[in-house]
C-alpha cells in the first residue's frame, strides 16, 4: 500500500514539475491530498501491521501522520494563498509544489519506517526537498539559509548514520531485517552499553538539526527565517516531529537497557541547553519568524526534558509535540497574513494590527496564548505534566531553571506580540489594497481550537494512540 502511495506522490510531483501550469498544480495537489488522506485513513485503521518488510503502521507514526495530513491540508491552502499574494514564475511555482508533495511523501515514509536505515534515508530525503523549498524565494538570504540548512543537516544526518551503523553491531542480527526496529529492541540488551551510548549520542547530535534542538539547532532557525510561511510552518512542526521520531526510535531501543538513565541525562542536558539558547537568543531577535523559530527550539527543549523525565513525561512529550505542531503552524500562517499587510517580518515595521484586521489580531493573540502555554492552551497541560515528571524524577534544579527561562521567553513573546497588535502605526503602511481572506484566519482558529479541545478533553482514540506509542517504553 505504501508503495502505491509513494508512486502516486512521485507521479503527481513529476507531473507538477513538468507541466508548469497553475491548473495542473492545483489539480495534482488536490489529488495528492486525497491520496494522502486516504492513505492516512488506511494506515490508521491498520495500526500494528507491517506494510512490506520495511514499513510498519505504528501508533506514533500514525499520530504524526494525522498531524501531518491536517497540516498538509492547511499548508496547501496557505501555499495557494501565498502564491496569490506574491509574484513568482510558473517554474518556481511548480517546483515549489512538486517539492512540497515529495517532502510530505518523504515525511510519511519517515513516520512509518520500521527499518532505521530507511528512516535515515527518508530523513535525508526530507532535508533535500525542504532545502529546495527554503530556497524558493531565490533571495540571497534564502540561498544562505538553504545552504546552511542543507549542509549542516547533511553533516548531521551523516553523523546520525554513523550512530545507526553502531546498532547493526547487535549480535544475532542478520539478513534483510538487520536494522529492523523490532529486532533491535529485542536484542538491545545484548548490545555493548558503550556502543549504545555512542550510537545514541551520534544519532541525537545528528538528528538535532532536524528536530531543531541543541547542538545543531542554529540552521533550523535560519531556515525558518527565510522560508515561505507555509514552509516555515512545516519545518517547525512536521519536520521537527520527524526529527523527534528519529531520536525517539533510537530511544526506544535504549529504553529497555541499563543505558536508559544515561540517555535521559544526555537528553536533559540537551533540553536545558536548548531552552537556555532559546531564551537568550530570543532576546536579541528583531524578526517575527526568528522569534517563532526560537520558540520552537524552546518547545523541542521541553520535549527533550519530557523524554528525559520519563514516566508521564513520555506521554506529555508526545502530547506536547502534537499541540506544538498545531499552534506553531497557525502562528506561521498568521504571520503570513501579517506580512501581507506590512510587507516585513521585522518588529519595527509593524504595529496596530488589531486595528487593521481585528480577526487576525484575535487569532494572533490566541496563538500567543497557546504557544506560551497559557491556558486554555493544551500546551499548558503537556508542560505541566512534563514539569511534574521532572519533579517526580527529582530533577528539580533543571525544572526550576527551565521555568525561569520559560518566563523570560513568555516575556519576550508577549512584548513583541503586543507590539505587533497595539504599537503605534508604522509609517508607510498602505492598507487600501490589502485584502485578507477571512477563511484564512478561520483555518488558524480551527487549528487552535483543536489544540484547546484536545487539551481539555482529549478523545479516547487520541489518548490511546499516544499510550500505545509509549507502551514500548514501559
Amino acid at each position: 500500500m505504501i508503495i502505491l502511495y509513494f508512486s502516486i506522490a512521485f507521479i503527481l510531483a513529476s507531473l507538477v514539475f513538468f507541466f508548469k501550469n497553475q491548473t495542473v498544480n492545483r489539480i495534482m495537489s488536490g489529488l495528492f491530498l486525497l491520496s494522502q488522506i486516504g492513505f492516512n485513513f488506511y494506515s490508521i485503521s491498520n495500526i500494528g501491521k507491517y506494510d512490506s518488510i520495511y514499513y510498519k503502521f505504528d501508533a506514533l507514526g500514525g499520530l504524526f501522520s494525522i498531524v501531518l495530513s491536517i497540516l498538509s491540508l492547511a499548508t496547501f491552502y496557505h501555499s495557494y494563498l501565498y502564491f496569490q499574494r506574491h509574484e513568482f514564475s510558473k517554474k518556481q511555482e511548480s517546483a515549489y509544489y512538486s517539492a512540497l508533495i515529495m517532502l510530505i511523501a518523504s515525511m510519511m515514509s519517515a513516520n512509518y519506517a520500521e527499518n532505521i536505515a530507511l528512516l535515515w534515508v527518508s530523513i535525508e530525503a526530507t532535508t533535500l526537498f525542504v532545502s529546495l523549498l527554503i530556497f524558493h524565494e531565490r533571495t540571497k538570504d534564502a540561498l544562505e539559509a538553504a545552504w546552511k540548512y542543507l549542509f549542516i543537516s547533511s553533516v548531521g544526518v551523516a553523523i546520525a548514520f554513523m550512530g545507526i551503523l553502531f546498532f547493526s553491531m547487535a549480535p544475532g542480527i542478520n539478513g534483510l531485517s538487520t536494522l529492523s526496529l523490532n529486532n533491535l529492541i529485542m536484542n538491545a540488551k545484548d548490545i555493548n552499553p558503550l556502543w549504545l551510548k555512542i550510537a545514541f549520542l551520534l544519532v541525537l547530535t545528528g538528528f538535532s538539526a532536524k528536530m531543531g534542538i541543541f547542538p545543531l539547532h542554529t540552521v533550523t532557525v535560519d531556515a525558518h527565517t527565510v522560508a515561505p510561511p507555509p514552509i516555515s510552518a512545516f519545518i517547525s512542526t512536521s519536520l521537527m516531529n520527524v526529527g523527534f521520531l528519529g531520536i525517539f526510535r533510537i530511544f526506544t531501543i535504549i529504553a529497555k537497557t541499563s543505558t536508559l538513565y544515561w540517555a535521559q541525562n544526555v537528553l536533559l542536558i540537551v533540553g536545558i541547553i536548548s531552552i537556555t539558547m532559546s531564551a537568550i537568543q530570543i532576546l536579541r531577535t528583531k524578526h517575527y519568524k526568528r522569534m517563532f523559530a526560537f520558540s520552537s527550539l524552546e518547545h523541542m527543549g521541553i520535549v527533550a526534558l519530557g523524554l528525559a523525565a520519563g514516566g508521564i513525561g513520555y506521554y506529555a512529550a508526545i502530547l506536547h509535540l502534537v499541540f506544538h505542531s498545531f499552534v506553531k503552524a497557525s502562528l506561521f500562517y498568521q504571520i503570513g497574513q501579517v506580512h501581507s499587510i506590512y510587507k516585513s517580518y521585522y518588529f519595527k515595521d509593524t504595529g496596530k494590527y488589531f486595528k487593521f484586521y481585528s480577526l487576525g489580531g484575535l487569532a494572533f493573540l490566541l496563538c500567543f496564548v497557546c504557544i506560551t502555554a497559557i491556558p486554555p492552551s493544551g500546551l499548558f497541560i503537556s508542560e505541566f505534566l512534563i514539569f511534574k515528571a521532572l519533579f517526580i524524577q527529582n530533577r528539580i534544579i533543571v525544572a526550576i531553571l527551565a521555568l525561569v527561562l520559560l518566563t523570560v521567553i513568555l516575556y519576550v513573546f508577549g512584548k513583541n506580540t503586543l507590539h505587533l497588535l497595539y504599537a503605534d502605526k508604522p509609517e508607510n503602511v498602505d492598507l487600501n489594497n490589502v485584502t485578507i481572506n477571512k477563511f484564512e484566519t478561520l483555518s488558524q482558529f480551527v487549528l487552535l481550537g483543536l489544540v484547546i479541545y484536545l487539551g481539555i478533553s482529549p478523545p479516547i482514540f487520541f489518548t490511546d494512540l499516544i499510550n500505545s506509542a509509549i507502551s514500548i517504553l514501559k
Binding site: V155, I198, L201, V266, F380, I381, I392, T407, V408, Y422
Partner: protein
C-alpha cells in the same frame, strides 16, 4: 440540570463576537445575569443547608470527570464575586459609552468576552478542587483580566503595564504549580486540593504553604509581591479595576484560605508568617497610598492595605487555632472574611466613582481636580461613603470587620502567654496605625478631588453622571450602610463560613449583642445629627446668613484656585516621616547667587515604590541585560554551528567516560 444551563451560558460567551455592536452590552449582561443566577442559586442553596458540601459533575477534563464542589467558603466567594460583577457590568454600560467611537466592534466584543470570562473563571476557581483544572481556570482568570487591563491599548504605557501584570501572574502560577507538584510527590495522590489533606497530615506544612502563599499572594497583592497592582489597576478601565480590586485579588486570598483549611499542624508559625506579612502590607500599603497623586493608583495601594487588614484577621485566626484561643480564632477569621466582602463593596464603589470622575476630566491626577462636589454631588456623596467605609469608621461596613478583629484581639489579651500578647499588641498597634493613616489619606483624596476650588479648566466644566452608573453606586452604597448599621444580620451566614476553619464559630453569636449595640449607637448618632441640624435651622431662622469669600488673613488679592492646599502639600508632613521608604524625589533648579532675575522654574516631585525598584525592576533588568549579553551563539558562521556539535560530542563523551552522567 443547572450545570447544563451554566455550560450553555459559558458557551454563549463565544457568540458575542457575532453580535452586532449595539446589542453587545445587553447580550453580555444577559450572560452575566444567567451566570449570577445559577451560581448565586448554588451559593444560597449551600448557605441554607450549610455544613454540607455539594458536588456537581461539570465536564470531562483531561479524561477525568471534573466536579464543581461548593462548600460554604466557595459559596461566600461566589456571592462576593457575583455582587461585584453585577455592579461592575451595570456601571460598565455608562462607562463604556465614552469609548464607543474609537473602538471597533471586535474590540468591544473582545472586551465583553473577557469580562464574561473573568466572571466565569473566578466562579470556577472557587468551585474547582482538581489541581490541574484549578490551575487552568486560575490562569484563565489572569489572562482574561490581562486583556481587560489593556483595553485602552492605544496607550503604550498601558501595554507595558499589562505585560508586567501578565508576567507576575505567570510567576505566581509557577509557584502554585510547584507547590502542587511538591505535594504530589510526597503523597502520590491526586494533584489538587483534596491531595493536600493527605500531605499536610503527615508532612511539615510550612514550606509548601510558603510556596502557595507566594503564588496566591502575588494575586492578592501582599507586600512585597504587590508590584503589579499599583500599575494594573490604574491602567484598566474603571469597571474592570473595580472588579479586579474588588474581587479578583480576593481570589488570591481564597487560595490561601482554601489551603489553610487543610492544615492542622504547625499552624503557629504559619499564622505568624501571615500576620507579619499582612502587617507590613497594611502599613506600607497605606503609606505608599498617601504619597500618590494618581487617584486609581492610590486606591490600588489601598487595596494592598486592605488585603493586609484581611490578612491580619486571617493570621490572628490561625494563631488563635494554633494557640487554642477560640475567641481569637473565630473573631479573627470572621473579621478577615467579612472584610473581604466589605472591601469588595467599598473598593469597587471607590473605583467606580473615581472612574466617573476620570470620564469627566480625562485625568487621574488629583492635582488637576478640585471642587467636584458642586459639579458631581451624587458621585461625591458615594465617594465619601466609600472613603468613610474604607477608613473603618462607624455607620459603614468597614468598621464592622475591623471591630471584629479588634475585639478578637482584646478578648484574647487575657491568657498569660507573653509571646501571643506581644503579637497581639503589635497587630493592635498596626491596625490602629493603618486606620489612622487611612483617615489621613482619604481626607486628602476626598478634599483634593471634591472640595475647594477647581484646579483646572476641565474640572470646572464637568457634569454629573447619569443612569446605569448611578444605579450601581446606589446598590453598593445601600449594602455598605446596611452592613454598617445592621451588622447582626451578617453574623449568621458569616459564622457558617468561619465554621470551616474552627469549630467554635458559635462564639460569633455572642458578638451579635455587641453588634446590636453598634446599631443602637449608630441610630442615636444619626438622630443626634438630625436634631442638631434642625436646631441650627431654627436658630438661623431670621438671622442674617451671608455668603462671602474665605478668610485670607486680611489679604484680599488671593486666588483661591492657586493658593489652596494641594495633595502634595497635604501629604508633605507625613512624607517627612517616610521619605526613605517611598523614595521621594524632588526635582528643581537651585537659585544661584548671580541670578538676579530668576528664570521661570518648575518643581516636580515623584515617588516610587522601593520594593518595585529593588525587588522587581532592578533584578529583572539585570537578568535581561546579562542574558542579552550572552546571546552570542547565533553567529551566522557555519563553522561555529558545526563546532557546537563537535564540542557537545566531546564533552558528553568525556562526561560519560568519567561517569559523571
Amino acid at each position: 440540570m443547572e450545570v447544563t444551563i451554566f455550560n450553555i451560558f459559558i458557551l454563549l460567551a463565544f457568540v458575542i463576537f457575532i453580535v452586532p455592536k449595539k446589542s453587545q452590552y445587553y447580550f453580555s449582561a444577559f450572560i452575566h445575569l444567567g451566570l449570577i443566577g445559577i451560581s448565586g442559586f448554588w451559593a444560597i442553596n449551600c448557605f441554607y443547608n450549610y455544613s454540607e458540601v455539594s458536588s456537581l459533575p461539570f465536564i470531562t477534563f483531561f479524561s477525568n470527570p471534573l466536579n464543581l464542589t461548593i462548600d460554604v467558603l466557595s459559596a461566600f466567594f461566589i456571592l462576593v464575586i457575583n455582587c461585584t460583577v453585577l455592579t461592575g457590568f451595570i456601571y460598565a454600560k455608562g462607562y463604556l459609552k465614552s469609548y464607543s467611537t474609537n473602538k471597533s466592534k471586535t474590540e468591544f466584543a473582545f472586551h465583553h468576552f473577557n469580562f464574561i470570562w473573568l466572571h466565569i473563571s473566578m466562579l470556577l476557581v472557587v468551585m474547582i478542587r482538581d489541581g490541574l483544572a484549578f490551575l487552568f481556570v486560575w490562569e484563565l482568570m489572569s489572562l482574561s483580566s490581562f486583556f481587560l487591563v489593556i483595553f485602552e491599548n492605544e496607550k503604550q504605557e498601558v501595554i507595558k503595564i499589562g505585560l508586567k501584570y501578565l508576567m507576575q501572574m505567570h510567576i505566581g502560577l509557577v509557584f502554585i504549580i510547584v507547590a502542587f507538584i511538591c505535594v504530589y510527590i510526597q503523597t502520590n495522590g491526586d494533584i489538587g486540593f483534596d491531595g493536600l489533606s493527605l500531605y499536610f497530615a503527615t508532612n511539615k506544612p510550612f514550606l509548601v504553604f510558603i510556596l502557595f502563599f507566594i503564588g496566591f499572594g502575588i494575586k492578592a497583592g501582599f507586600i512585597p509581591l504587590h508590584t503589579w497592582l499599583p500599575h494594573a489597576h490604574p491602567a484598566a478601565p474603571s469597571h474592570v479595576s473595580g472588579v479586579m480590586s474588588g474581587v479578583m485579588i480576593k481570589i488570591g486570598l481564597y487560595g490561601i484560605l482554601r489551603v489553610l483549611t487543610y492544615i492542622h499542624q504547625d499552624l503557629f508559625s504559619i499564622g505568624m508568617f501571615i500576620l507579619v506579612i499582612s502587617l507590613i502590607s497594611g502599613i506600607l500599603g497605606v503609606t505608599f497610598a498617601i504619597v500618590q497623586h494618581d487617584v486609581k493608583k492610590l486606591l490600588a495601594y489601598h487595596s494592598i492595605e486592605n488585603i493586609g487588614i484581611i490578612g491580619i484577621g486571617i493570621g490572628l485566626g490561625v494563631i488563635g487555632i494554633a494557640a487554642n484561643i477560640p475567641v481569637l480564632a473565630v473573631l479573627g477569621f470572621a473579621g478577615g472574611i467579612l472584610h473581604i466582602l466589605n472591601h469588595s463593596l467599598f473598593k469597587s464603589l471607590l473605583f467606580y466613582t473615581s472612574g466617573s470622575i476620570y470620564l469627566q476630566l480625562h485625568t487621574r491626577n488629583i492635582e488637576q481636580m478640585g471642587g467636584m462636589i458642586k459639579k458631581m454631588p451624587k458621585t461625591a456623596i458615594f465617594f465619601l461613603i466609600g472613603s468613610l467605609a474604607i477608613c473603618g469608621l462607624p455607620l459603614f461596613n468597614g468598621f464592622i470587620s475591623e471591630f471584629l478583629i479588634y475585639s478578637g484581639i482584646f478578648k484574647s489579651l487575657l491568657p498569660g502567654n507573653l509571646f501571643i500578647d506581644i503579637t497581639l499588641l503589635f497587630s493592635l498597634s498596626g491596625l490602629a496605625i493603618i486606620g489612622g493613616l487611612a483617615i489621613f489619606c482619604f481626607t486628602k483624596v476626598f478634599s483634593i478631588i471634591f472640595l475647594g476650588t477647581p484646579r483646572s479648566d476641565s474640572a470646572t466644566k464637568s457634569t454629573e453622571v447619569k443612569g446605569s452608573m448611578l444605579i450601581s453606586f446606589f446598590m453598593i452604597g445601600i449594602i455598605i450602610i446596611f452592613i454598617g448599621i445592621l451588622p447582626a444580620f451578617i453574623i449568621y451566614p458569616l459564622s457558617s463560613v468561619v465554621g470551616i476553619f474552627t469549630k467554635d464559630s458559635s462564639i460569633l453569636y455572642q458578638s451579635a449583642y455587641n453588634l446590636n449595640n453598634i446599631s443602637l449607637v449608630s441610630g442615636i448618632f444619626i438622630g443626634l445629627i438630625c436634631t442638631l441640624g434642625l436646631l441650627r435651622n431654627r436658630q438661623q431662622k431670621g438671622k442674617i446668613i451671608k455668603q462671602g469669600p474665605i478668610w485670607g488673613c486680611g489679604y484680599t488679592g488671593i486666588n483661591p484656585a492657586k493658593s489652596q492646599y494641594t495633595a502634595t502639600s497635604y501629604a508633605d508632613n507625613f512624607l517627612l516621616l517616610v521619605d526613605r521608604l517611598v523614595n521621594v524625589k524632588k526635582r528643581f533648579i537651585v537659585f544661584k547667587s548671580e541670578e538676579i532675575f530668576p528664570r521661570k522654574r518648575t518643581f516636580h516631585t515623584d515617588s516610587s515604590d522601593i520594593f518595585e525598584d529593588y525587588l522587581v525592576s532592578l533584578p529583572s533588568k539585570k537578568i535581561l541585560y546579562w542574558m542579552e549579553k550572552a546571546a552570542v551563539f547565533q553567529t551566522g558562521q557555519i563553522q561555529h554551528y558545526l563546532l557546537y556539535a563537535l564540542v557537545f560530542l566531546i564533552v558528553i563523551f568525556f562526561l560519560s567516560i568519567l561517569n559523571w552522567i
